[in-house]
Symmetry: C2
Subunit: 165 residues, 2 copies
């Protein structure tokens, strides 16, 4: 049970995109170089982020990515769901249907119609996590970062991404 690193890379990248003007973009090349990973690797995540409408792409020369909606409308959960997919963490294998005392061809209603209680609990547990992650937006993260992280470094980062403009 682990989140993939893609979530981490994505969130960091989105943070870099916050400062980008509406008419500008940052290319995968720069995002990858800045973080020391390959372009093809990072682009995997951006394809997913785009599918979810979190970022939008501008093709062609001087193209790249920018945020597709306001930072207040991009939550941690949106990113997790984009990268990890929408499948619930707990996929019930319906273990109960394999009980030896059951006739597999004529399962009782209690084992087919009514949902597995264990499954329900796990789904609700995930919902609790989801609720919290939905409450944390990119807007919040950016403001936290700008107040807590060294200003010089933030400026250096911004300058690096816009060094070729």
């Amino acid at each position: 049970m682990q989140f993939s690193v893609g979530v981490e890379y994505s969130l960091h990248c989105l943070l870099y995109l916050v400062d980008v003007q509406d008419d500008r973009t940052i290319g995968i090349k720069d995002l990858a170089a800045y973080q020391g990973v390959s372009e093809s690797y990072l682009s995997k995540f951006f394809t997913k982020l785009k599918k979810r409408g979190i970022v939008e792409s501008v093709p062609g020369a001087k193209g790249g990515y920018r945020l597709a909606r306001p930072t207040s409308e991009i939550s941690f959960w949106d990113v997790v769901e984009a990268i990890e997919g929408s499948e619930p963490f707990f996929k019930c294998s319906e273990v109960r249907q394999n009980e030896i005392i059951l006739d597999k061809n004529h399962l009782p209603d209690s084992h087919t119609k009514s949902p597995c209680l264990i499954h329900l609990v796990m789904l609700e547990a995930e919902a609790q996590m989801k609720k919290y992650l939905q409450s944390k937006t990119l807007e919040w993260l950016a403001s936290e970062v700008s107040s807590k992280v060294d200003g010089t470094h933030l400026r250096a980062t911004r300058d690096w991404f816009s060094r070729n403009l």
Copy 2:
């Protein structure tokens, strides 16, 4: 990001152990046969459950497993932690330390001493899930099941496990 099936098998098994008298046990053999899995597979999970003090074992002939504490003191989270381990779901790879503009030998304090904000959010998200799963106990599950599942089937299950007494 998926829970392993071990969590599901474990919870079902623990449910079967709820009805067992204090001086009795159920063997891996029966638990495995009842659910249609191999003994060695299921025993993997019971080794973990034992290490966490959720079940206790009685060796030798007529031995087996029983719950090690009251059902009210066994939560879903206890089981998840026993099976999945105590590692947090989100392990921060400290991606930020690889930023190209940084000198890896002289990282700024903001990147070493203060914790990664993204990491903190993820840890808190996990804590939310944990809190919920801690609130759902085996006692609760057993009472839900006994009120919602067909009584005939529950009795048949109990009879099967105690058929050799």
